[in-house]
């Protein structure tokens, strides 16, 4: 339903463009990465994750977040071209 709505709302954008953008959105889901960061923190605070596990996870997630933000910035500024 979501896909259909999204396409209907944007009739001027080609279907391929829209699908590609959605795929990128999902792949670089900023909110999901932020949730993982918070969960990592919570599990560490509860003593279920060791400090080294926590640090490794945190570093990885922060790196992912940075990339995701960059992708989104490019998407909104139109600097990522969708090829057909």
């Amino acid at each position: 339903m979501f896909i259909l709505d999204d396409l209907l709302l944007r009739p001027f954008v080609g279907i391929v463009d829209a699908l590609h953008t959605m795929a990128l959105d999902e792949l670089y889901d900023i909110e999901a990465i932020q949730d993982d960061l918070k969960e990592n923190q919570l599990l560490y605070e509860l003593g279920e994750r060791s400090e080294s596990e926590y640090r490794t996870q945190k570093d990885e997630l922060e790196a992912e977040l940075e990339i995701a933000r960059e992708v989104h910035e490019r998407l909104t500024s139109g600097r990522i071209e969708v090829k057909r």
Partner: protein
């Protein structure tokens, strides 16, 4: 170092103390405009990047301000509010005066407490029953509460509560009783914080 980083807004007598402040600042003080005070430390930029260390310093300074204002309350600012000079800051205090006054009234004598209920990995729980049990136990003591994001599958409940300082002990006891009643769950009880979740003063223009 003529830029001012703002932690929160208070009223009444100015406060000052030494602290491990944001971006290496060491001294926290008040910039006032007609009894409204912005509690600040000096910084070298108005474009602050949020690091874990600085976010923690922001929280700790706010906690210290809460202790020092003892019941008068502080309207906490979100991380990252910095102004070019005393003048621009005073302009903001002047312009947003009614909003700050209202917010100060809302938080006077109150603190924020956080409660997360976490279930064991790979177990099913009756979320609704837990929500009801928690609500019955603590909502009557709190003035207000707001839900926070359930950012993990393990989270059953995540809320912030605005509680009168005088009711703090009753709230502690209610949470302790909940913990006793639900041994299979973990209760993560945090605070007191400055009431971030209950005041929403947006400042931005003319920074």
């Amino acid at each position: 170092m003529s830029n001012r980083y703002v932690y929160g807004i208070t009223d009444g007598d100015p406060i000052e103390f030494e602290a491990d402040a944001v971006r290496g600042g060491e001294y926290v003080y008040t910039v006032t405009h007609r009894r409204l005070g912005a509690v600040v430390s000096d910084v070298d930029t108005t474009e602050l990047e949020e690091t874990d260390e600085d976010a923690q310093r922001h929280d700790e300074v706010l906690r210290e301000i809460m202790d020092r204002t003892d019941g008068r309350g502080v309207v906490p600012m979100r991380f990252g509010m910095a102004f070019e000079s005393d003048r621009t800051l005073k302009n903001v205090l002047r312009g947003a005066r009614p909003a700050f006054r209202r917010a100060l009234n809302d938080v006077e004598g109150r603190i924020e407490l956080g409660l997360k209920v976490v279930r064991e990995a790979d177990t099913d729980v009756d979320t609704e029953a837990i929500e009801t049990a928690v609500a019955d136990a603590v909502e009557p003591i709190a003035d207000q509460s707001v839900p926070n994001g359930l950012f993990s599958d393990r989270l059953v409940l995540n809320r912030s509560y605005l509680v009168d300082r005088d009711d703090r002990e009753r709230f502690d006891e209610a949470v302790a009783a909940l913990e006793d009643e639900h041994e299979a769950l973990t209760f993560r009880y945090t605070g007191p914080f400055a009431p971030y979740s209950f005041v929403d003063v947006e400042i931005g223009a003319g920074r």
